[in-house]
């Protein structure tokens, strides 16, 4: 029996983020949500725990607003949740996050698989899983689009640029999954009501001895606008020629 951990992040809802004409990014009206990518990680963790007869544990790190994520995560089939609470004013980068998650995993028993999304809905830095694995001294399998237990090992298929690679890896292991791996189920309202009765453990970063000193800082954030070339064409032949010139056809 192996327990499975799903790491997830509470991010600003992309639908609420506004980019002003000067390309400055306005997050002030953005509500929080579990990163869409992380819902795939949760789905896989629940599935693997079901296959192994173990528990699926949600693991998250962040300040007070993260509390809002707990019932949502638990309604998606997780058995329990562990929240590593960050100080309100902490500057958190990928290194700090990985340290906190590693401390969280170490506090759990019988963990076989730690599932992360390949990237998060805000920065998509793709650093959490490799850094977490390094801190835990575990193997990491990234870009996973399929994963299952076979004879006590995890068999995972990696989607690479132009090929699929299947690996078998002994447990415990950290995996980073792509959205193609599954279609997260929308939880039923009964699961939402039941989520409030599932166990949640809160631990502060200080309690777990997490080093909160970041290694990087965000110096600026700008929206991205696709520049248009505004090429006018007068015929289909002109259009084809313009597309050829751009290397599109």
């Amino acid at each position: 029996m192996q327990n499975t951990v799903a790491c997830y992040k509470w991010v600003a809802d992309e639908a609420d983020i506004r980019v002003h004409p000067d390309l400055s990014v306005d997050l002030s009206r953005a509500a929080g949500r579990i990163s869409e990518y992380d819902k795939h990680a949760i789905e896989l963790a629940v599935q693997l725990a079901g296959n192994s007869g173990g528990q699926a544990v949600g693991l998250t790190f962040g300040a007070e607003p993260v509390r809002k994520s707990l019932k949502d995560a638990l309604s998606r089939g997780l058995d329990e949740a562990l929240w590593i609470k960050a100080p309100e004013q902490a500057t958190v980068d990928a290194v700090v996050t990985a340290r906190a998650l590693a401390a969280g995993v170490k506090s759990l028993d019988g963990v076989g698989v730690i599932v992360c999304a390949e990237g998060s809905g805000d920065s998509y830095a793709r650093q959490t899983a490799p850094r977490l694995a390094a801190l835990l001294g575990l193997p990491v399998v990234t870009s996973v689009c399929e994963a299952t237990f076979v004879d006590g090992v995890l068999r995972a298929t990696r989607r690479l640029e132009d090929s699929l690679e299947t690996v078998a890896v002994a447990l415990p292991v950290v995996v980073a999954v792509l959205p193609q791996i599954n279609r997260p189920a929308i939880p039923g309202l009964k699961a939402v009501m039941a989520a409030g009765r599932k166990p949640v453990t809160e631990k502060t970063a200080e309690e777990l001895g997490v080093d909160l000193a970041p290694k990087s800082e965000i110096t600026s954030m700008k929206g991205f606008a696709q520049a248009r070339k505004n090429v006018l064409v007068e015929s289909v032949a002109d259009l084809v020629a313009a597309l050829k010139k751009e290397g599109i056809v």
Binding site: K68, S75, I186, G188, L189, K190, V192, M193, A195
Partner: protein, 387 residues
């Protein structure tokens, strides 16, 4: 908002996820093709969107009415006909069964209905009388242990798709000043003598069926009587505010759906290098007034549902929502079309669907005028009571 809790917010988010991922991609197709949303209805049942306010022992969610309203509002934003399908089964008919059904009827009908495995339709309206049930001609007569039903019911929502019809007919002489003499019967869809006409072709709510039901010497056993014979109209009087309130929540969502479309369009449609919103005061004022009406309706809706949850809601609030909700939804949708200009009147952009659907709510269930009349009667009664 005073009515929002963490759990309710999560339920709203889950409903929004369902509506965005599964309903939104097909909503306009159902409107265009007039196709009843059976698959979505079943999914809604799986997710627990039916039976929200009903007890868990009836297969319901055991949540409160405010939670129901929040869910219904989300449904209305994206696909009003799904709300009509759900509400007609769950609240209009299901509410009666929840209130008056025997344990056997709850088990047989209500539990599967709350899971979306069984669809109800409530059959009340007839050609004569309309909302005045005392002019009802449809009747049932006892025959041994059975009842024989003869009736024609018009504009019945979910007709032709429902598995079980809850039919209101006269079962005795009218007794002036009382609501006695009316009975609800469960009639299953394959019962001999029961037929359903093809659905009406309507201006709105396309994809939800409204049709004529004919009951010709339809024989049902006495076990198919809902509650007590003769008390049908009493059950309806108790439950009808819930149906009207559901319309309030649904039309709030419809107004918001149309408003969001118009706001986005006004921000993104450029003229002379500026958005419509920034270019024209008239557009900004339209959106400001639309927002104002929506928030006023929201206040009324959630105040009424809050009072409903506390068990102290005066029944006239149901009628207030049935009047105010469709008015706001129709006004906002009409203004949204105006902001869109020519694309607003083209089938397929979706904004005009909100207007067509909103207009139906002026009449479906009970006309605005009938609701105003009842509200006026209440005002008069209250005046003399307090005088």
């Amino acid at each position: 908002m005073f009515y929002m809790t963490e759990e309710r917010q999560l339920i709203v988010n889950i409903t929004r996820e369902f509506m965005e991922k599964e309903a939104a991609p097909v909503a306009l197709e159902h409107d265009r093709e007039g196709k009843w949303p059976l698959e979505l209805f079943r999914r809604a049942g799986e997710l627990g969107l039916l039976g929200i306010p009903f007890p868990t022992e009836q297969g319901g969610l055991g949540a409160d009415w405010t939670t129901f309203a929040l869910v219904y509002e989300e449904v209305g934003k994206v696909m009003p006909i799904l709300g009509i399908a759900l509400g007609s089964s769950s609240i209009l008919a299901g509410g009666l069964v929840s209130t008056a059904g025997s344990p056997e009827q709850i088990e047989k009908y209500m539990v599967p209905a709350n899971k979306g495995e069984l669809i109800f339709a409530g059959a009340f309206t007839e050609a004569t009388g309309g909302a005045n049930f005392f002019e009802m001609q449809g009747h049932a007569d006892p025959d041994g242990d059975d009842w024989i039903i003869n009736a024609t019911k018009l504009f019945i929502t979910n007709a032709g798709i429902a598995d079980v019809y809850l039919v209101l007919v006269r079962t005795g002489e009218l007794q002036p000043g009382t609501a006695n003499g009316f009975t609800f019967f469960f009639v299953e869809k394959d019962t001999p003598g029961f037929t359903v006409s093809p659905p009406e072709v309507k201006m709105g709510f396309n994809g939800n069926y409204s049709a004529t039901l004919t009951f010709k010497d339809v024989r049902v056993p006495k076990e198919n009587v809902l509650g007590k014979a003769g008390d049908g109209l009493k059950y309806l009087v108790v439950n009808s505010p819930d149906e009207f309130m559901a319309v309030g929540a649904l039309t709030l969502g419809m107004a918001e759906g149309a408003y969001e479309m118009a706001l986005k369009y006004s921000m993104e449609r450029m003229q002379n290098g500026k958005s419509l919103f920034d270019n024209f005061q008239v557009t900004r004022f339209k959106l400001a007034n639309m927002k104002l009406e929506i928030e006023a309706l929201r206040g009324l809706v959630y105040m009424a549902f809050d009072l409903r949850d506390k068990g102290v809601m005066p029944p006239e609030y149901g009628r207030m929502l049935k009047i105010k909700g469709p008015r706001v939804a129709e006004y906002v949708a009409a203004e949204a079309i105006q902001i869109f200009g020519a694309p607003g009147v083209v089938f397929g952009t979706g904004v005009e669907r909100f207007w067509r659907d909103a207009k139906i709510n002026f009449i479906a269930g009970a006309s605005l005028e009938a609701c105003q009349d009842a509200l006026a009667n209440y005002i008069r009664g209250n005046y003399y009571k307090s005088a």
